[in-house]
Symmetry: C2
Subunit: 322 residues, 2 copies
């Protein structure tokens, strides 16, 4: 299992390539919750999400043979861009298998901006796996799984380490949970920094597999996968579940309306573009399910990639030629 020292080593390895993201605060929010809240803003990270940390940590440890053949992954979005940029930075080839319903902004960024080869597949998890396996068979690519990978987990954990090193000890730390890479990395980082920090996961009530997994003591899946938080639709794997069981206090689930409300608050009041998945932890904090008054609370904002086409088309219609 990943250790705190592995995360610290990852932090050294990726320093200077990743961006040290700012910690943001809001007097209004602190007054509202009666607590001190620190946002670690990975929406400001390169590619717009924490995923670049793990991707670069992984790519930078490949053998020369693996580098020569290139890397591959399947991802609904941020991990795709992250691996694409990490590979480009390391000077190696990246192939990304993406479901057809991926937001256009993410497909374009992966292919055009970061220069990866994108292979689109059907919208099922099985199709993703199959397409990826076929390409690995044929070309010998190294699979970089979005979360079932120790180096990815270590990289993800560096965001929490940075936060804690900057603001000092915390009482609570919230991170969203989809496949569990960010949450498990965050939990190990917190445990290593200070054993008394209570780490909570947060997820949409519509896809509450992580919450049910903790309750059942085994990995559960979702009947439907439909939430505005499109980065959190995946299930835990044994690797992340094992870490989360041991190191996470609980998972807080929130309604879609709460996610949207938290997101709106971050946009309107803190002027940050945050994707729905990135707003789930604030939604959990604001839901009042965990008594937080009087405490120091960290929140990992996981990313800010969201399709703004509709909004800017609206604005475009309002302007006059000049």
């Amino acid at each position: 299992m990943v250790t705190y020292n592995d995360i610290l080593a990852a932090q050294q390895r990726i320093a200077g390539v990743i961006d040290k993201t700012p910690v943001m605060t809001s007097r209004t929010l602190n007054a509202r919750v009666g607590a001190e809240i620190f946002f670690k803003c990975e929406n400001f990270q390169r590619i717009g999400a924490f995923k670049f940390r793990g991707a670069f940590n992984t790519v930078s440890q490949l053998s020369p043979e693996e580098r020569a053949r290139g890397v591959i992954t399947h991802s609904s979005g941020n991990h795709a861009q992250a691996l694409a940029l990490a590979a480009r930075t390391a000077g190696i080839k990246a192939v990304i298998v993406m479901p057809k319903w991926s937001p256009l902004v993410k497909v374009n960024a992966t292919r055009d901006t970061y220069g990866a080869e994108v292979v689109l597949c059907e919208n099922t998890i099985e199709a993703r796996h199959q397409t990826t396996a076929q390409l690995i068979d044929r070309h010998g690519y190294t699979l970089v799984h979005p979360y079932d990978n120790d180096n990815i987990i270590c990289g993800a954990g560096t965001a929490a380490v940075e936060l804690l090193q900057e603001v000092g000890d915390l009482d609570f730390l919230f991170a969203p949970v989809g496949g569990g890479g960010l949450l498990s990395g965050t939990a190990l980082a917190a445990r290593g920094f200070s054993p008394h920090i209570k780490v909570y996961g947060s997820e949409p009530r519509l896809v509450d597999d992580a919450s049910r997994s903790l309750e059942a003591g085994q990995i559960m899946t979702n009947q439907q996968i439909d939430s505005i938080a499109d980065g959190l639709l995946t299930n835990l794997c044994e690797r992340t579940f094992a870490i989360i069981r041991l190191n996470v206090e609980d998972i807080v689930t929130v309604a879609e309306e709460q996610i949207l409300g938290a997101m709106r608050w971050l946009w309107e009041r803190m002027k940050m573009v945050v994707e729905p998945s990135g707003a789930v932890s604030l939604a959990a904090v604001l839901s009042g399910q965990v008594p937080l008054a009087g405490h120091r609370i960290g929140i990992i904002i996981s990313g800010g990639n969201i399709d703004l086409d509709g909004f800017f088309t609206l604005l475009q219609g309002k302007i006059k030629k000049s």
Copy 2:
């Protein structure tokens, strides 16, 4: 005329009440322009705009008699919220005269969030002046003009001072110009910090009164006042024009499409909610009218207050009950 030392004194006076806003950078943008660009992000300032600096600097220097009577201003938006919060912070009354077409988010923030008394008036500059004058006659309020005020200019200049103190010397510094408070404060701050910094104003081509004023050597006004950059529709006053003539290199004008393009870039790529007026300086930089390659460039992002109702209504329609 305001001096550099006045701005430094203002910086001391407002420290701890204003937020020291972060400086953001983008590797992608730097590569695109071939320069090093530093954004001073006043969209993250309290009330979402630089205006709080000047408002608090002014309010904190009122006499006991003036404090007892309260303050008044007319403003299309950010200055209104700024004075409202500054007054509340200082424990005094604020009355804000606002035109009826002000964005709802700004009216609400001024009245509900910051507790000022809002008086709506007709949509003309004359109506604003008249309504304000009547209220001053009746109640003895102190007028805090949005820019025709040395303390406002000093406060506005503290953003540039903070930027320069953090990143060091710059070759160019861009700020938007409406009434000229921010641009004149910025220019005086830059001159004081390092005489060789070239300060440029930026404004929409549709309301290019500042550009024409510099050319004509006297204050010009606009035939129409219609730009997406609703914070920049006002004209210079003698006080700001005198400073700008002496200390600003030139005014760069940009098309509405360029403003929207720059704004979209800031949202999509830098994950910052920036209002159109706040994006005008990046539009000026990207327009290529000033040769900037190889240089160190500062850009003041003036604010991030924009009505997001339409966007979130759109998202609201997409979510399911959970």
